[in-house]
């Protein structure tokens, strides 16, 4: 397993990223002051519940936050350029060539009236790839083979709806992969798939990272898939990253009460099940109802156990984000 621990310059450096949506007179902050690095050749899981901001964060990196959203950041450096300083033409080059996005609903990203072969060659042509018809076709077949489509030549001539869900996702991955991106943002890429297909797609993504040295930001709500393929994990809650670390460390010793609670509510797959599951009371808050101080406070078992300390109500937990494993909690040592 390759990790980026050795290389010093990160592939992606994100510093104090905020994404705000203005709806009427409301201003909602979906992502609030988030900083992290992504190294080369690693899979970083971005895990959170609904309204945690994880998908918006993915879109912000792609510079694809929809109209009403405003993105601000101290720095969003990809390789050696600031993403938000790029001109439209430069951005077009970076997207697709260096940055790729894979989403949950692969079918929705495809044109229903042209064959998948035409779509993937169009991607190459749009990005100025040289070569005639047969050369581009050869590359398409090669990529289809790489994503283990069983009959690559035949698949080229098919329309998206003629493919099964697993094949559609493989084609979508192939389209993302064909220009050799450095970073793939995969937003719940296996959530809509059957488990036997999910297992194959996860193995495929891991293989791509190990063979090509590509990096992946793997956005998911499912901790089990994080354990399965990620090297590091960022846990998001209410627009913020509350814990970050190597997957092994976070699972073995979760520092934030939210991470602990999430892990505890993961249903066991083998052995005797518990009588009662450890559930987190309440529900994840929406951006317009984020509590002051620590945002997990109203649901936090530690806050209750410690007799509702004032710090949790009044101040944001500060963190040292330079250490490999950290959590945004005032009482990390009380765990």
């Amino acid at each position: 397993m390759s990790t980026a621990a050795g290389s010093d310059a990160p592939l992606l450096h994100v510093e104090e990223l905020c994404v705000e949506f203005t709806i009427g007179s409301h201003r909602l902050r979906a992502v609030d002051d988030v900083s992290f690095d992504i190294g080369r050749g690693e899979i970083v899981g971005l895990v959170g519940e609904s309204a945690s901001g994880k998908s918006t964060l993915g879109l912000a990196i792609m510079r694809m936050v929809p109209g009403a959203g405003r993105v601000s950041a101290k720095s969003m450096k990809f390789v050696d350029q600031e993403l938000y300083d790029l001109t439209a033409a430069e951005l077009r080059h970076v997207r697709g060539n260096d940055l790729a996005l894979i989403v949950q609903d692969a079918l929705a990203t495809m044109n229903p009236v042209i064959t998948v072969g035409e779509q993937i060659t169009q991607v190459m042509r749009d990005h100025g790839e040289k070569g005639g018809r047969s050369e581009l076709r050869r590359r398409a077949v090669h990529t289809f083979r790489e994503v283990r489509l069983s009959e690559p030549e035949e698949t080229l001539g098919k329309f998206p709806h003629e493919l099964s869900g697993g094949m559609q996702q493989r084609v979508a991955i192939a389209q993302g992969l064909v220009l050799g991106p450095l970073l793939i943002i995969a937003d719940e890429p296996t959530t809509a798939l059957d488990v036997t297909v999910q297992a194959q797609i996860l193995a495929l993504l891991r293989g791509i990272v190990d063979d090509r040295g590509t990096s992946i930001i793997f956005i998911t709500h499912d901790l089990a898939t994080v354990a399965e393929i990620c090297d590091r994990v960022l846990v998001m809650y209410a627009g913020r990253i509350v814990e970050a670390g190597a997957v092994g460390d976070v699972f073995a010793d979760p520092m934030h009460p939210y991470t602990r609670a999430l892990l505890a509510s993961l249903l066991p797959l083998d052995g005797e099940p518990p009588d009662v599951l450890t559930a987190i009371p309440g529900q994840p808050p929406q951006p317009d109802e984020w509590p002051t101080g620590c945002r997990f406070r109203p649901r936090c078992p530690l806050y209750q156990a410690l007799g509702e300390p004032e710090a949790c109500r009044t101040t944001d937990p500060l963190v040292d984000e330079t250490v490999p494993h950290w959590a945004a909690c005032h009482f990390v040592d009380e765990r």
Partner: protein
């Protein structure tokens, strides 16, 4: 098909006997296409049990669930509830059946009428059960509290609730008629992880409290492992294995069940399980073969055994492997699964390093 577990039938809540279900899709100008959703399915559901029905998309699990509540008539075969055929019941019997059997859906946003308050939705059920007007308020409050909702929320509309709360409302509405059986189709799949645990705990405690029989239709083996006593595994319209939770999760004898269980993502980092068996995808386009095993084209065990002829010429019956063990398996070579599973696992481990 014959099932020799006659003992199951005594006092069964549901008895499903050789049920077929076909859907015909007409797409002019093409020829009509027939999809076989259920292909000779037999099963009994015992009072008080939590039965899991698992399978991937296209397995027929949802169709079976819909048939149990009477939404979907069988193309052939019978479904009996408390000994009475669902589709030839008299009106009185049907009314009683509808009180006795309730359904809970995956999407709580679609299952509630947006223009009716919680009180409206729940009162229907109380009326159907014949609760006198004077007793209704108390009963409504009891239902709300039972499902973890505040009685203060009775006059609110569905849009004012979160997904988890809506699923509680759906549950309260089901309980308002005083059912004996709850058919739950993916009841927690649409919910956040932290909310899933709440709803599953609630279902579990209600099950004990009210002595409910619960049929849990799901693709999620973690839910099955937590919730179910007994598990039915389906593949392309057929039941391929029935056993206790422990038998299915730890010692499955059908090669498909093995594949399914091994495919579920693990939660132990750095210890990604090897999955030498997981390959290809369920084929939902072509009809399942009439006189063959419908898993044969994906079956790892068949490959291991050198592709025996039998798998593609004879349909395996759901049968017991041992006389005194009620588990049933539909595989000609189920007695060899364990041995080859271990061998595959070891081979996989060598290949991995």
């Amino acid at each position: 098909m014959t099932i020799d577990s006659t003992d199951d039938r005594v006092g069964a809540r549901f008895q499903v006997d050789g049920v077929f279900k076909q859907f015909v899709r007409r797409r002019w100008p093409r020829r009509a296409q027939t999809t076989v959703a259920l292909d000779d399915v037999s099963l009994s559901i015992r009072p008080g049990e939590a039965l899991g029905i698992v399978g991937e998309s296209g397995s027929g699990k949802t169709t079976l669930g819909r048939m149990l509540v009477g939404f979907e008539p069988a193309s052939a075969g019978r479904v009996l509830f408390a000994g009475k055929d669902l589709f030839t019941m008299r009106r009185r019997e049907r009314e009683a059946f509808r009180r006795d059997v309730q359904m809970m859906f995956q999407n709580p946003f679609a299952a509630l009428n947006l223009f009716r308050t919680v009180r409206d939705s729940l009162t229907d059920g109380l009326r159907a059960r014949g609760v006198p007007k004077a007793a209704r308020q108390a009963e409504l409050e009891r239902l709300m509290e039972q499902t973890g909702l505040s009685p203060k929320m009775l006059d609110r509309y569905p849009h004012e609730f979160s997904g988890g709360q809506r699923q509680r409302i759906v549950l309260a509405r089901s309980l308002s008629v005083g059912p004996k059986v709850l058919i739950a189709d993916e009841p927690v799949s649409a919910l956040d992880v932290s909310i899933q645990a709440q709803v599953l705990n609630l279902l579990n405690s209600l099950r004990r409290e009210l002595d409910l029989t619960i049929v849990m239709i799901t693709h999620d083996l973690r839910v099955v492992n937590f919730f179910c006593d007994r598990v039915v595994v389906m593949y392309r319209g057929r039941i391929v294995e029935v056993g206790t939770r422990r038998q299915i999760m730890m010692h499955a004898q059908h090669p498909y069940t093995r594949m399914l269980v091994s495919a579920a993502p693990h939660d132990k980092p750095g210890d990604a399980p090897l999955r030498p068996w997981v390959r290809s995808e369920i084929d939902t386009d072509s009809p399942p073969p009439a006189s063959a095993c419908n898993f044969a084209n994906r079956c790892w065990l068949r490959t291991e055994l050198g592709n025996p002829e039998m798998c593609v010429t004879q349909r395996p019956d759901l049968r017991r492997l041992e006389v005194d063990d009620p588990r049933t398996v539909a595989c000609h070579f189920a007695h060899r699964t364990e041995e080859f599973a271990q061998r595959e696992q070891e081979a996989g481990e060598h290949g991995h390093h």
